[in-house]
């Protein structure tokens, strides 16, 4: 996962497998040689080939890849018309897929421990990231939180992969009761050294993890989630406020090309809400 990612390709490609995870959740596997070479934290812009009345594609993180069969999988939650259109694809239907796009997660240094914090569809990239961490021999642990048991639809998939996992729910219906940051803090107090934090999920969760990282002076990456129009850096619709050292003011930066993964210290949160 440290090799430089392939340059993105825009292809019409078939949905080869669709697995419902109940409710608005599903796993969708497409055949697309380019995206099948994605690294963790990268995403693809996807829309059905039969476009309907929506103009723009929608961004989805790569949850898994299989370069040998040229396939990749996304973990999708249907929330509005664009994600619903992808959700409604049937096996054999074609989609327009552009990817892989964006800058993914930075691998931890050798010997460095990785703590992954995911919620909602934001847990998706950590499936792929875990594979790389395991291959690289890095110690890691995934904290997966949701409001209640029904909002942890990827648990089965993650367990099947043998990913070291701590679950939590706000209402205690599964795993520990409370925010995902509670077990994270517990773990931080237990492990030696300075683990790296990686967060992807609802903004309040990412902010909370970023705050913990800044208090504890831990390296932390967050994967931001703005509205995206193109994925190519051309529409400038996806900008996020980034404060770089030496700059007098934060600047609007396209998350699709400079992110979606950013060093948490650079992110100016106020402006995103």
């Amino acid at each position: 996962m440290t090799s430089s990612p392939p340059s993105p390709a825009d292809r019409v490609c078939p949905l080869v497998k669709r697995e419902s995870l109940g409710g608005a959740y599903a796993l969708l596997t497409f055949e697309h040689a380019g995206v099948a070479g994605a690294s963790a934290g990268q995403f693809a812009m996807i829309q059905p080939e039969a476009q309907g009345d929506l103009l723009l594609r929608r961004p989805f993180s790569i949850m898994d890849t299989d370069p040998s069969t040229s396939r990749f999988t996304i973990f999708l939650k249907a929330v509005g018309p664009g994600s619903k259109a992808v959700f409604d694809l049937r096996e054999g239907d074609n989609a327009r897929v552009l990817g892989p796009l964006g800058r993914g997660f930075t691998a931890p240094a050798p010997g460095e421990r990785a703590f992954l914090v995911g919620g909602g569809y934001g847990v998706a990239p950590f499936a792929l990231f875990s594979r790389g961490l395991r291959e690289a021999g890095s110690a890691f642990h995934l904290f997966y939180g949701g409001r209640s048991a029904s909002e942890l639809p990827l648990v089965g998939e993650l367990e099947r992969r043998g990913i070291p996992l701590t679950l939590s729910t706000d209402d205690g219906t599964r795993g520990e009761r409370g925010r995902v940051t509670v077990p994270l803090m517990d773990a931080l107090s237990l492990v030696p050294g300075t683990p790296r934090l990686y967060a992807c999920g609802p903004e309040p969760m990412m902010r909370a993890v970023a705050e913990i990282s800044s208090e504890k002076r831990l390296a932390c990456e967050v994967s931001l989630d703005p509205w995206m129009g193109c994925g190519l850096g051309t529409c400038l619709g996806c900008v996020v406020k980034i404060q770089d050292e030496g700059e007098p003011r934060p600047k609007n930066r396209p998350a699709c090309t400079e992110g979606p993964v950013f060093d948490a210290r650079r992110v100016v949160w106020e402006k995103h809400s």
Binding site: D10, W227, G229, T234, L236, G237, N252
Partner: protein
């Protein structure tokens, strides 16, 4: 029969084909070069450039509406000098015409940006943006007042020997007034049109869906309005018209040529269909072949109106 010709001329600007990527929808060209073969385009129009770098509007900046896109980017950009020094050298490596979209808050700034762009090797023409609805000074204010339109175009005309192409705002009662003002001020061609001022509201929060408030509407939704304006402008002036608005297929582009456009720009559809040019180009070739028309130039303005 030999293959029909797609080459067109916009003033002294020769284009291999009449398909341009519209300003603000292809960055500075270099961003898309790894996905789109720029040699399949006639040329690209850069994102709008002022003298200084600008950070643009707050997010959210884009929202989808039925068959349309509402945007308020606010002309974020690197500034003309950084473009010339740092971007243009990379863009020159690609075989495509480069048209700089010139912005300003004052007549003088337009002229100054135009001068710098004209002096840079590898800039082929200037499009004057007097029609951006998403900035507080300049932009649309110039494009909705015929006298200011004339002054800006005249000043850029003096500052540059390149083809000068003002881009009109559709937010006016009579577009022919502005087309004529441009022609009289020495424009070589006219881009027709920029976005329509719109407003979309998130009813749950009762806030505009864009942080800036209003935005510019683009996409297939506006196509019939843009075709109408292209047709009106083409009848009002002798200089060529570049048709813009909602083009998503060869058939859409053909409507503009038939209405009187000598070239067209694709905007919003670049976002979801970056490789649309090859498809449009082959559609044009098919059509011309099928209708025994030797050159796209022979199609321009051939609308049968009245029927």
């Amino acid at each position: 029969m030999t293959a029909p010709s797609l080459g067109v001329e916009i003033g002294s600007l020769k284009l291999r084909n009449p398909l341009l990527a519209a300003s603000g929808t292809c960055g500075y060209g270099v961003e898309i070069a790894h996905v789109v073969d720029l040699a399949t385009l006639g040329g690209i129009v850069t994102k709008g450039l002022y003298m200084a770098a600008r950070d643009g509007c707050e997010a959210p900046r884009i929202a989808e509406t039925p068959a349309g896109l509402l945007n308020a980017i606010g002309l974020q950009g690197v500034g003309i000098r950084a473009f010339v020094d740092r971007v243009l050298p990379r863009l020159r490596e690609h075989d495509t015409a480069v048209i700089v979209n010139v912005c300003g808050e004052t007549v003088e700034e337009y002229a100054e940006v135009a001068r710098i762009a004209s002096d840079a090797p590898g800039v082929h023409a200037l499009e004057i943006n007097i029609s951006c609805p998403n900035v507080k000074t300049g932009g649309i204010a110039f494009g909705t007042d015929p006298l200011m339109t004339r002054d800006v175009v005249g000043a850029v005309r003096k500052a540059s020997a390149l083809p000068v192409i003002p881009k009109l705002s559709p937010n006016v009662t009579d577009i022919t007034v502005f087309a004529r003002a441009c022609e009289e001020a020495g424009a070589d061609a006219i881009s027709c049109v920029n976005t329509f001022l719109g407003l979309a509201i998130d009813v749950e929060t009762r806030k505009p869906r864009l942080a800036f408030g209003t935005g510019g509407l683009s996409g297939p939704a506006i196509r019939p309005l843009a075709v109408r304006m292209t047709w009106q402008a083409a009848r009002a002036v002798k200089i060529p018209i570049i048709g813009i608005g909602g083009i998503a297929s060869a058939s859409d582009a053909l409507e503009f040529f038939i209405a009187g456009a000598s070239a067209v720009q694709v905007g919003t559809m670049n976002f979801s269909r970056p490789n649309i040019y090859a498809e449009i180009e082959s559609g044009l070739v098919d059509y011309l072949t099928r209708h025994h028309i030797g050159s796209i130039r022979d199609l321009v303005g051939t609308i049968r109106y009245p029927r």
